[in-house]
Amino acid sequence: MLLNSWAIALLVSAAAAFFLLGGAIRTAIRVLFSWAPEQDTAVQIALENETWLAALLVRYGMVLQLASLLLLVLAADSFSHILIGAMCATGAFVANDYGMPALIFKLFGVFFYGFWLVLHRLDIRSEFLPLTRIKFAYLLLLGPLLCADITLLVLYLINLKPDIITSCCGVVFAAGGAEDGNLLGPLPTPFVMLLFYSTAAALVLLALFLQRSNRTADPMGGMPVANFFFGTICLFFFILSLVVITVVISPYIYALPSHRCPFDFLRVEYYCVGYPIYLTLMLATFAGISCAATSFLQKLPGLAIPVCRFRQNCLRVFLLLLPVFLALVSWFPINYVVKGGE
């Protein structure tokens, strides 16, 4: 289905991202080979200028990645009108083997671009530019990621045929029960919800603790264990949230027990409530993981204060957005229970 307007839009953004990242990687290779900050040569001056270009290109790439993530979801929504058997975007994604991986790569791609920008932002805060080599080495890793992303996208679109019969969200994300292949596995819903809320509580407590220790402890210290836990739990919570939203929360949003679609509530019919839900979740996760990951950078020359300040901001964002997310997500089931479950 490469001739569909949505497919073309996705391919255009993929091509644009390819060129942007290609340019940035060219700079990365040159930096890795001939970066010499102590010199005042013409080559070094040109390289320093080029690092600004690379940062600009990655920033545009990140925006593009976000846009194409949104495009992919909306495209799947539009494909579902064409594909037989698909009533919502889920059906379009599972119409062949590449849909879900393409979506997951796009989603995590946003995070990886974001981390690069965090590295860059911290790097230029230190007069020693201590992260320049690291950030450009990391940039090289984004190349294969983007290639995989584009390959999956193209495979997905090529293999998407209007006459294929696919299944729908009610089947794909069926909860509980004995059917195999459902997302929750054998776990009962109350247990999962308990896990969900206790993980959230643990995250808030950990964040508060880190905020305190970050304020009082000497900036060179860092707390590797606490930070490692915090980052890991953040990631776990992100994935758990996606599952919980899909399987447990979404039927309450639709007020239909069998409708389990993580995409439909982006639609206007449901007041676009999906956008704030996903945005808060993604931003909170990003802030949390960034905070944890940057704790290791505090010891680098000139970075103690910038990193400390950055992490404090991250924790603030995290502690602000996580409750908002929890409130948004909990509102639908609570409302249902309070109204007496009609």
């Binding site: 569909n4 307007s5 073309i8 839009a9 846009a67 949104l70 009108h81």
Partner: protein, 396 residues
């Protein structure tokens, strides 16, 4: 380095706007070309959206289920006896037989669709039908009465006359009187349609008694359509069963495919435009070099200049986007997408004057935006950077 974030953005935006105002003429070219490209893109998208919408509306009057006989993988006539077999299925409200086919008019090279039915779906024979702008439908048993569209009257050059003739397979003439005219709203499917009684259609195509082209099934409860479809398949061997939803999907596939093809053609335009924009933005004139040099020596950072450039390009792009989109809206809504209709409805010589009201859908806006504005902004990244790294000491 820690300037107030919003204040800095506003100030730089302010500067960007004033410098755009100064270079109005220079930016006007880019603005115009870009508006045209976006106008074309969004016209395409809106036309296809509006056509899909019309098809959806028209199809709501179509039968729930259509049953056709297949033989050797092709459609063949279905015996009317099948009607009795189906009548026993619980949940079926009504079954009508229908004869339909294509009639090629050699005098003007057009292909008409002929449908012969004795009762119209959901309507008692002889009663006024919402699909008609004037007149009535032919009733069962009548001969030589037909309903056609206003467009078809023009094609047949009927003028004020009511009668027209069609050739039977043996080249003898069958004469018809127009008793009704289809309303414009359904032009998408009725523009090339001649509706008559079963008997007349049988006569025109020389189809033997006891056979029909397909059976139209009305179902009491729409939720049961899938179940009933299955039952029909079980009862009748070798039939094809088509539901309304499937026909709808077919329309969407056709339209989205066509709009995709159009998009590809327009992409070429966009690419050449992006190259033009790049060309224009990348060459820095002497005065621009001096301006950036002065700004930098006064303490503007590389990032500030890049932001300035971004605001300039983004403003031009946004205005072009709004202009192009509004023009496309007018084009599709008021001029019925006059430029693109031949592409979308190109399979027939008939070109219905459809009244299209494109719905405003966020995803359409995003689609056109991401096909046009995003690539353009990406293309401006390198020129923006090139301008931003002008060295401060260049003005000393």
């Amino acid at each position: 380095m820690d300037a107030p974030y919003i204040g800095r953005l506003l100030n730089i935006l302010d500067y960007a706007l004033s410098s755009l105002r100064r270079k109005l003429l220079k930016n006007f070219g880019v603005f115009t070309v870009f508006s045209v490209v976006i106008f074309l893109f969004s016209s395409f998208q809106l036309t296809s959206r509006a056509l899909t919408e019309i098809a959806r509306q028209t199809l709501t009057t179509a039968p729930d289920i259509t049953v056709q006989q297949m033989s050797a993988g092709r459609q063949s006539s279905i015996p009317l006896a099948a009607k009795e077999q189906l009548a026993a299925i619980f949940g079926i409200k009504k079954i009508d037989a229908r004869i339909w086919g294509y009639y090629f008019d050699e005098s003007n090279g057009a292909n008409y669709t002929v449908i012969g039915m004795d009762t119209m779906p959901d309507h008692a024979p002889g009663s006024p039908w919402p699909g008609l702008s004037e007149g009535r439908l032919p009733t069962a048993g009548e001969t030589g009465k037909a309903v056609i569209s206003a467009e078809m009257r023009r094609q047949l050059q009927l003028g004020e006359r009511k009668f027209f003739s069609l050739f039977r397979p043996d080249l003898s003439l069958a004469s018809f009187e127009t008793v009704g005219i289809f309303s414009k709203d359904s032009d998408l499917v009725t523009a090339d349609l001649i509706l008559m009684t079963m008997g007349d259609a049988r006569n025109l195509f020389a189809i033997p008694d006891g056979l029909a082209t397909d059976l139209l099934v009305q179902v009491g409860n729409p939720l049961e359509i899938d179940t009933i479809t299955g039952k029909i398949r079980d009862k009748l061997a070798g039939v094809r069963v088509i539901t309304r939803a499937q026909i709808q999907k077919t329309y969407e596939v056709v339209f989205s495919w066509r709009s995709g093809l159009g998009t590809i053609c327009l992409l070429t335009a966009l690419v050449s435009f992006v190259i033009l924009a790049w060309d224009k933005a990348s060459g820095l004139s002497q005065s621009e070099l001096r301006e950036v040099g002065i700004l930098k020596i006064l303490g503007w950072q590389t990032g500030d200049i890049m932001l300035l450039r971004f605001f300039e390009s983004a403003t031009v792009a946004l205005f072009a986007f709004l202009t192009g989109w509004l023009l496309a809206w007018v084009h599709v809504g008021y001029f019925a997408g006059a430029l693109f209709r031949p592409i979308f409805l190109g399979w027939s010589v008939l070109r219905p004057d459809l009244a299209m009201v494109p719905p405003l859908v966020f995803s359409d806006v995003l689609l056109v935006f991401s096909i046009s504005v995003l690539p353009y902004l990406c293309a401006t990244a390198v020129p923006a950077w090139r301008a931003a790294v002008v060295r401060a000491d260049s003005v000393l």
